[in-house]
Structures are given as C-alpha cells and as structure tokens.
Amino acid sequence: MIPHQPLSSPHQHGSAALDRVMIAVSIALIPAFITHFTLFGWGIITNLLITIPAALGSEALALWLRRRPILPTLADNSALVTALLLALILPPLSPWWLLVTGAVAAILFAKQIYGGLGYNPFNPAMVGFVVLLISFPIEMTSWQAPLVNSDHPLTIIAALNWVLFGELPPGILFDSMTMATPLDHLKTELSLHHTISEVRTDGTIFGVVAGASWEWINLAILAGGLWLLQQRVIRWHVPVALLGTLALISTLFYLINPEIYADPLFHLGGGGAVLGAFFIATDPVSGATSPKGRLIFGAGAGLLIYLIRVWGGFPDGVAFAVLLMNMAAPTIDHYTQPRVAGHQRGEMHR
C-alpha cells in the first residue's frame, strides 16, 4: 500500500498562474508595438532589442548574487514585462547605454534590492524612467518624429548603427529626425502665452484628439488594456478611477477656460495616461490591493497626472504620479479594508 501524503487542503487549484499573468500583459502590449513600428519605424524595435536582454541580464545577475534559483525566477516573466514597458515609454532610437541604465535601475535598484518580485514598493519601470528623466534630460526629450514627417526613415541597419555606435548615415542629423511631443509642445507654447486654439493648428504635431500618430498608439494600448480587463488579468477599479478622475478634472478646467486648459480628450489620448491606467498603475505589487483602495489609488494618480501636466515642471506626469501613489499605497490599504463578515461596520483594527 502506497498512500501518498499531500499537503493540507485544498487539493486542487484553479487555472491562474503567475507566469501566464505576465505573458498576458506582454501579449496585451503587442498591438501597441505593432502600431508604434508602423508609425515610427525601427526605433521601438531597437529599444526592445536592448531593454529585454538588459532587464533579463540584470535580473539573472541579481539572482546569482543572491543565490536564488535563476531560471525558474526568470520564467515568471516579470522582468520581461518591465523590459517591454521600458521600451515603450523611453524615446524610440534611444542609445544603448540609456536603455541599459534604465533597465538596470528598474531591475537592480527598484526590484531586486528590495527582495525581488512581490517586495518592491515602487513600480520598477517607473523608477527606471524617472532615473533617466532626471539624469539625462536631453536624451529623454529627443523623441522621434512620426514617419510621415520624416524625409529619410532609417533602415534597421542604420538604426542599430545609431543606437549602438552613435553613427548616422551621412547627411542626416539626429535633430532633424526628432520633434517635440504633443504635451511638451503644448506646454512650451502655453508658457509663451499662445492660446490652445492657436497651438492646435499645427497638424504635424496634433491629430484628431491628441498627438498625431501618438493617439493611434494610445488607441492600441487601450485595446490591449481592455483585453486584459476582459481576461480578468486586471480589475476595473484602477483604470476607471484614473481615467475618470483625469477626465473629470480636465473637463472642469476646460469649461473654465478652454484657451488655457486642454480638453479632456486631449488629456486622455495624449501622453502616457492610457498606458499608466491599464499597465502601470494596475501593477499589483506596488499598488493598493483592496477594491476601495484601488479606486483611491487610481483617482489619486489621475489627479496627480493632471496637476503635474498643467502646473508641474514636466510635460507628462504619469511616472511621478504613480511613484507618489506607490508611497501612499500601504496607508491606503490600511484604511480601506472591507468589513469582515460577521463583524460590525466601522470596527477598526486594533
């Protein structure tokens, strides 16, 4: 007789698995990458080619130093998700050292130093982004112009040559390929006391609702985010609260003075709001956990994004907003725990 000794109950498990969650997030980003490639060319691909090995390499190095199992941990795909997000939020055609620095800051300093996945108080990709934004402001504001505005789109070889060795084909200056982002442009022009209706006439930068070409990428990100919702990989609370708050407050100020304050669709469709709402602020590790807490977390992030965009020193505020809310998450969770069944409402923790 050989009865087997199992653990205590339950003796079966649902279908959820951590590596599949991370893969789902990666899959949800594919439409955004394809749109990005179509509208901006090889820049996103060179970003990916460097952030993925840099992030996985940093993770492996840290695990080796910490004497933790390397391959099983890499297989949870969390470092892959960080790499994909970094590639998407950093300027396309970023030089290799910028991408590597971002990945190292995200994986080594924001994640592994705290104990790896599950223990990081801040979103790793956002830490990587902010480290770069503060350290290398020039490179971080050199955004490629869409292909439609580009006279000499780079081939993959030329793009790699630029990214790895800083060499461009003769006769092309890097500055000629870059262009201000819509949010950046708007901020600069508003500071020069131009009205929004004057600024928005520039068709090369502004599209139907927000930035030309950029708005299509945000639409693709939205599609991926909605698919994640449908797959129940993420819950609705954070995206709805974040985008809802952003829409609400931007509507309010737009109604006060439409010549100084951009309309809500511009705020929702421009910059990183959609990516932040579905892919960044929904990071469970660094976010709030209770449903009510997630609503507060999302609303806080939405409010901060607007405050930073309109009155802050940076054109976009998603990264700072998320990091600030990350700090508040434990407190939010502490005060938003649902009532335990059989207990009276308002019965607080000891």
Binding site: P3, P10, A16, V21, D76, L117, P291, V340, G342
Partner: protein, 546 residues
C-alpha cells in the same frame, strides 16, 4: 409550488471549481459489504470522548450501545453490526495529526442481527425533550462534516426563540454527491426528520437550501413535499457557488443575515442542520434505529466505479475503495476524506469510515511544486474570500510569524474553505499557512497557561520556603533563649537529666518487683502497659529536638 419565490442574498467572494458531480451522482446508493473487522473510534464527533461500555470477548448485536456519550456535548456509539468485541486499542483514525486513538474493534459474525428497537408510532406527538432524548440516544451528530452532536444544536434553551430552521442541502464541494443521492432517494425520510427537528425547537420557518446543480434532488423533495399538505417547509434553489454549503454562507444567502464573528447561528435565531442529519433523525425517532451507517461518496479519477455507498461505521477505507474497484494497493494514490477543497488527507488506508466521512476522493498522485512563487498582492484571494478577509496580509504576517498581527487581521474568522489558495496565481498554499498560524497561536496559549500555573506554583513555593525559614529562625531563637536561662540558674542541663534518669530507673525496678510479686498471687489480672514507656519516649523526643 413555493420554489424560488423567495428573495436571495449573496455572500461576497466564492469560486467556481469544476463540479465533477456526474462521476458519482448517476447510480443509486448501494449497501457496502459488511467488513470482517470494524474499527470504531471513540471520538467521531465534536465534544467529550465516549466511554466504552463493552469488554473484549463480549458479543454485541447490531444497534447495541457500545460506548456512552459523556457530559453535555458528546455522542454515543452503537455496534454497526452483530459480532464480538475483540479489543479496545489504539488504531489510526481520520485526523490531521495522523496520530492513533482509542477504538473499539468489532469482529462481525456476518449475521447482521439487530437488537430490539423502540419505534415510536406518532413522533409528532412527542414533546421537545423526548425528541432530543431520542436523538441523543441514537448518537446522531451533524453529518455535513463537522460532527457536532445534533441534540445539542436542537436545544436552544427555554428563553431563545428559533425563527428559522435551515436545512443544508447545498453540497457545494466538488465530487461529493452523497446528499444529492439521499435527497433523490430518501426525500420522504428527510422531510419527516425535518418536521421532527422543527418540533423540537419550535421553529417558525423551515428552509431547505439546495444548489441549482441538483435539479433531480430539488424535484424529488418537491414531490415528497406534496404529501406534507400543512408543511411550512420551503425548498429554496440557491445558485451554485463554492462555498454556499458553509453554514454562515448558506444562512447569508437564504436570510441575508450574518452570524456574528464569535457567535453561533442561534444568536440570530437560526438553527442549521444537514439533510443527511435530518434523514437520520427520522430513522432514530420513528424507527428507533441508532446512527450506525451513512452514505459515503467514493469518487475520483483513480476509482473505476465511482458511486455512493451506505457504509457501516468502522469499515476500513481500503475495503470501501476495493468495493468501488479501486486498487490502492498496487499504485500510489492520494486518499482524501471529504472533498478536494476542504478534505482531509488520509495516510493509512486502514483508517475507518466515521460519522463525519461524507466522501472518499481517490486521485492519482499529482506532483506539487516544492517552492511556490512570491505573492504579488494581486488581491484575487481577497476577492474570493467568503469571510472578506485579506489573505495576502494574513499570509505576510503568518510567514513572518507575527502572530499578534495575524490575529488583528481576523485569522480566526477564516473558515479554511480554500478559495484563496484555489485562485492564487503564485500557487501559495495559503490555508496551510493559516492553519500553521492558528496551531502556533493555540500552542502558545497552552504554553502560556502552563507557564502561568508553573509561575504561580513557583512563587508559592518561594513564599513557603521563606516562611519556614523564618519560623525555624524564630524557634532557634526561643530554644537558645531557654538554654541561656537554664545556664543562668547554675545547674547543668545534662547532670539534671542524668539524675532524673537514674531516679526513673530505680522507680521502674521497684515497680517491676512489686508487679511480679502481685502476679504470683493474681495470675488472671490483665497485663498493664509499662508506666515508663511514655515517659521514655518523651525523653527521647526532647533529646532529638535539641
């Protein structure tokens, strides 16, 4: 028909595991074979251990009382078949510890001869106490799984009004179909048992909750209900959602009320019993038959003929598995008593079927990863938790052995239903961590209680030693003072006593001589004790003390 005319409520959380009910719910309940040897643990219920009334070598008849329930909360045990008691000894029992416990061993004679029974003609004329006594005498415990003595739950006390009697036919655990088959086949018996129980507690309303994945059972109950014209019984179909069969969850679904955290359903005027318990109450009260068997589902992927069996208590699980075509001896398998969500792993297939065994689940061994992945705080566990706990916080603190914080997070509200572990993407055995924390807290409390007693005893001992020391010192002081006084009077103590001893010896000799002379003249006189005996002893005593 009153079917689903009632408003239902929801409890938060819950999961939808695959039911696997069709494996075992299509065939009728079969009588399992009478085993050659039955092993009957003295404790098959919550409460005090039953006291054995038989001795090895004694012949017993089927249904005969063999162990008496002791005290308020306990349950009696009856012989499941006729035969000879061969021993009362320790055997493996179904318990998470895997430890052995005292069992009565009964060798069956395969004649299955009943003892004389006392059926009752019209049970609905009995008064409440008589009903409870009949149920207590029959050794009936809750057959849903916990095994709490049924007569205790049917005794709300003179001043407590019972609003609703809830009969639990939800059977929400995957694989288990014993209550389903029972409702289909013995609906009349169940309804009769319910009427008897309702009479014992004077319940105003009676609800039977059955999950909507058992339409045949619901139809059978409704058919039987047509014979109970005046009945207040209401059959309520509830949505299939694990763990609706949990007492607190079913109460919430049917009444919208929540049982207070440290309380029992009676606190909110509700008494809850299982359908199987109701059927056995009918057997006990109407037919006088004690609880000696139950319906057990034998199911799982490693069982060729899954089904439901009427099994005598004490039947070794191996016998039952063999009857269902299982070959546990040849290949390794996981034996679980109960369902896959809350069942108890069994390590010895000789373990007997007891009153609380509703299912034997036999599955091929599935390798479990030795390491689980880290918690990413996705909160799916909190969403699934029917008690609305925060399992991710409980896990965090339990892992860090912060047992005060784990209690602040209401660890003891956890019903161990397993939903959190089931949904966890990191496959963390959360319930295992919570059981660990509970066990640690209990053991700490026991240790603390023991330490408190030990400390009190130690403090008392210290106090006593101090007191004795003080008393001795006082005595010495007095003796010394007395000695000094004697010295002052000028006579040496020893010379004085020698003189006294010489005097006494002289007197003794004189007395002896006189006695001998007297004895010569009066031989019939009774002997008198030597008068100096006590004197001598006092002397010695005095000397010893100084």
């Amino acid at each position: 028909m009153k079917l689903n005319s009632r408003k239902l409520w929801n409890f938060k959380g819950g999961v939808h595991p695959e039911g696997h009910k069709s494996l075992s719910n299509s065939s009728a309940i079969k009588d399992a074979k009478i085993p050659s040897v039955l092993v009957l643990p003295l404790q098959q219920h919550i409460g005090a251990v039953a006291n054995p009334l038989v001795v090895p070598g004694q012949r017993v008849l089927k249904g005969e009382l063999i162990a008496q329930g002791e005290g308020m909360v306990s349950a009696s045990l009856h012989a499941p078949t006729s035969g000879t008691i061969t021993a009362i000894e320790e055997r493996p029992i179904p318990h998470p510890s895997g430890l052995m416990d005292l069992c009565i061993i009964l060798e069956s004679d395969q004649e299955d001869r009943w003892c004389s029974l006392n059926p009752i003609e019209d049970p609905l004329q009995l008064d409440a106490d008589a009903i409870r006594e009949a149920i207590r005498a029959a050794g009936i415990v809750g057959l849903g799984g916990a095994g709490f003595p049924a007569h205790v739950k049917l005794n709300p006390g003179a001043h407590t009004e019972v609003d609703t009697l809830i009969i639990n036919g939800a059977e929400c655990e995957p694989y288990i179909t014993c209550d389903d088959r029972l409702m289909r086949e013995r609906a009349e018996s169940i309804l009769c048992g319910i009427e008897i129980m309702a009479r014992a507690i004077s319940a105003h309303h009676i609800l039977i909750g059955v999950e909507d994945n058992k339409p045949e059972a619901i139809a059978a109950l409704n058919r039987a209900l047509q014979h109970h014209k005046q009945s207040r019984i209401e059959i309520v179909t509830v949505p299939t959602l694990y763990p609706t069969g949990g007492e607190r969850q079913l109460i919430k679904v049917l009444t919208g009320k929540e049982v207070p955290t440290q309380g029992i359903p009676l606190d909110i005027g509700i008494v809850c019993h299982n359908v199987a318990t109701a059927a056995r109450v009918e057997q006990a009260v109407v037919h006088g038959r004690p609880l000696i068997s139950r319906v057990v589902t034998v199911s799982g992927e490693a069982i060729p003929r899954p089904g439901n069996y009427e099994v005598l208590f004490g039947t070794p699980m191996a016998d039952l598995i063999a009857e269902a075509g299982g070959t546990i001896d040849q290949q390794p398998a996981t034996i679980i008593m109960g369902g896959p969500m809350m069942g108890l792993p069994v390590t010895d297939s000789a373990t007997p079927v007891t009153k609380t065994c509703n299912c034997l689940l036999i599955q091929p061994v599935q390798p479990r990863p030795t390491l689980h992945q880290p918690c990413i705080r996705c909160g799916e566990c909190a969403i699934s938790c029917p008690a609305q706990l925060q399992p991710q916080q409980l896990y965090w603190h339990a892992r860090a052995k912060e047992f005060d914080k784990v209690q602040d997070e209401h660890l003891f509200d956890c019903i161990e239903c397993g939903c959190c572990s089931w949904v966890c993407p990191s496959q963390i055995p959360l319930v295992h961590y919570f059981r660990f924390a509970k066990a640690e807290i209990w053991s700490q409390e026991r240790e603390k209680a023991a330490a408190d007693i030990a400390r009190e005893r130690h403090e008392f001992r210290q106090l006593r030693i101090e007191r004795e020391k003080a008393e001795r010192a006082e005595l010495m002081k007095r003796k010394k003072a007395a000695l000094a006084k004697k010295k002052k009077s000028g006579v040496s103590g020893s010379k004085e006593s020698i003189a006294a001893a010489v005097e006494r010896t002289k007197a003794k000799k004189a007395a002896l001589a006189a006695k001998e002379a007297k004895a010569a003249t009066e031989p019939s006189a009774p002997p008198t004790p030597p008068p100096d005996a006590t004197e001598n002893r006092t002397d010695e005593g005095e000397q010893r003390e100084i």
